[in-house]
Subunit: 399 residues, 2 copies
Amino acid sequence: MSVTAAEGFTAAGVAAGLKSAAPDGARPRDVALVLNHGPDKHAAAVFTTNRVAAAPVLWSQQVISDGRADAVVLNSGGANACTGAPGFADTHQTAEYVAEKLQATGAEVSAGDVLVCSTGLIGERLDMPALLGGVASAVTELNPDDAAGQRAAQAIMTTDSVMKISSASGAEFTVGGMAKGAGMLAPGMATMLSVVTTDAVIAQADLDAALREAVRLSFNRADSDGCMSTNDTVIAMASGAHPQADPSGVDLAEFQAALNQVCQDLAAQLIADAEGAHHEIAISTVNAATEEQAETASRSVARSNLFKTAIFGQDPNWGRILSAVGTTDVDFDPSTIDVAVNGVWVCRAGGIGDERSLVDLSGRHVKVVIDLKSGGAEATILTNDLTHDYVHENSAYST
Amino acid sequence: MSVTAAEGFTAAGVAAGLKSAAPDGARPRDVALVLNHGPDKHAAAVFTTNRVAAAPVLWSQQVISDGRADAVVLNSGGANACTGAPGFADTHQTAEYVAEKLQATGAEVSAGDVLVCSTGLIGERLDMPALLGGVASAVTELNPDDAAGQRAAQAIMTTDSVMKISSASGAEFTVGGMAKGAGMLAPGMATMLSVVTTDAVIAQADLDAALREAVRLSFNRADSDGCMSTNDTVIAMASGAHPQADPSGVDLAEFQAALNQVCQDLAAQLIADAEGAHHEIAISTVNAATEEQAETASRSVARSNLFKTAIFGQDPNWGRILSAVGTTDVDFDPSTIDVAVNGVWVCRAGGIGDERSLVDLSGRHVKVVIDLKSGGAEATILTNDLTHDYVHENSAYST
């Protein structure tokens, strides 16, 4: 179940011709639209912190500033990043066109409440006639059923091999979501985009806080190759349309748990679909002084090319793990740190531990545990190995 | 000319059996010794800032603390990192043995003035009988001629395909140096080691300051894969033995320039010898607010796997350059930044610039210029592309 799992939303995913046709001539979907029918139009969003933000990010930051959004339009086949004022005008025109077409159907939508997301190659203008044609077609295909939600999820795929969708429900609400990209294939162009919908009755400030917490614990802990996109965007929209909704508001703890679950599921799917990767790696740092320190230590290992190539080579090279942790300022004593790879404590007390030949790295899943012995906090970062396919995909992408 | 270019130094490089024999049975050199005969024994050193520092780093930090060193012993074939107290004892024993053997030849050397450097795989103990045998043999082969200096440079090679040596002279001094490693093949295990000698008459504090400035402008601006070794060490030793030396001290500006030249030459040789690399890339940031900001911007690009794979694919993907600069906090306006790749300004004012097909990336040398338009400072970082050979070498190394 995708973004239409929640009541009050319709979606569409169409082929507008922004992406190349398949060898058999089939046109892949490349324009998605999600419409919130209300009664509430609460929305929140988290954007890339890259200062070279794409035009749709700059636009959507303005749209979201009042906490309301009526619709989201997303396209693959072009990131509309580093395109200057003309690129921003393209985004603006897209939002205007979405509003115009929706208004013609009787929907109450203003252009200033239409979020825009784009993903694809940086530094090229979008094919606007194709994109606007896709918008017109998507408006006519908006549907509340599950298949429509899945078509929207398909339309935002770039190098993704499968769509990413997830949902969770409570007694008084449902959360549905879709995501695309990241993975290690090409996050710098592929971008991570996600739209999460809910029919919960929830104040905008609560939705905003819940989204930031969920993103912190999910997408921000999936670190495929350390590169930050110009387009990353995560959007949450709440309609308040659940039939059993308590008008006084959802149970916030229950809602947070469901939102975390959907976002963590989507983040795990992103890492799992890194086609160039041979291993999905979970790096857990335990017994850290703080959760932030645990995250810092895990992320430093996740960003070490030497560690990531070692895992590709099925080599439990714990020295590279220690070396990566040693570049951070987290609290630990190099003479007491322990490291396990797939259950074998190959490093004990900062030195040689159990027999490294006992480590089995033939499977796809790798679990690294780093015990800092400095406190009681922990955090896990998900990443991939660095493979020939990563080099191939990313060296061949735009040429 | 290597470390024996300067008067007052002898060197040796011998095969001790720490490294595997070549297919034809030839034993590669793997133990080097450099002895300062004085009259001065001034020394300075810069070490890795990795908190997981190898035993020889911990030892040498103690040795250098009084600003005096009599000799340096270096081995390849093992890093002696993450080896705990037994590894430290091995280093200590090595220094004691060097001093003992040198004393037997009449040299005035104490173990507490013997620097130790090691390079090779992390997390394994050294073969001490082999190493000590190499030390004994190296002591008998110490020689002031150029060939001996070159043998020392050969003995510290790991994945290096050629030795790295350099020298420069002034009216009253000569500077000679050798280096190994980094390169992109496996800096996390290969380590960057360098020993620079001079016969200048120079106060220890001046030598220390000159070395730190030279390292800042050379080795610290060669960033192959962003990984920091547990063993990186750069050592400078001054004998004051130049026949025309002014007893009141060398011209410090002239000495600094020569030392910078030698260190920059060695750093460039390290980047040039990254066998896995197909391109040597110089990333210059110009018109930055400060030199530090210029370095930060260039280094962020040098560490982007997406940029490095694009160059491997001969793709002047300037969007990935902007995206990397956008993750920093340096002063720049995304709407005015310009980027040139091999002389073609592919990005102007943050958007599409001159025709990218004009960029010729078929050669080995790549020059990126990032114009921040925020001031008058500049800095250049040297790096390599990310290739299939990098993945291959680093995934296959220890298994």
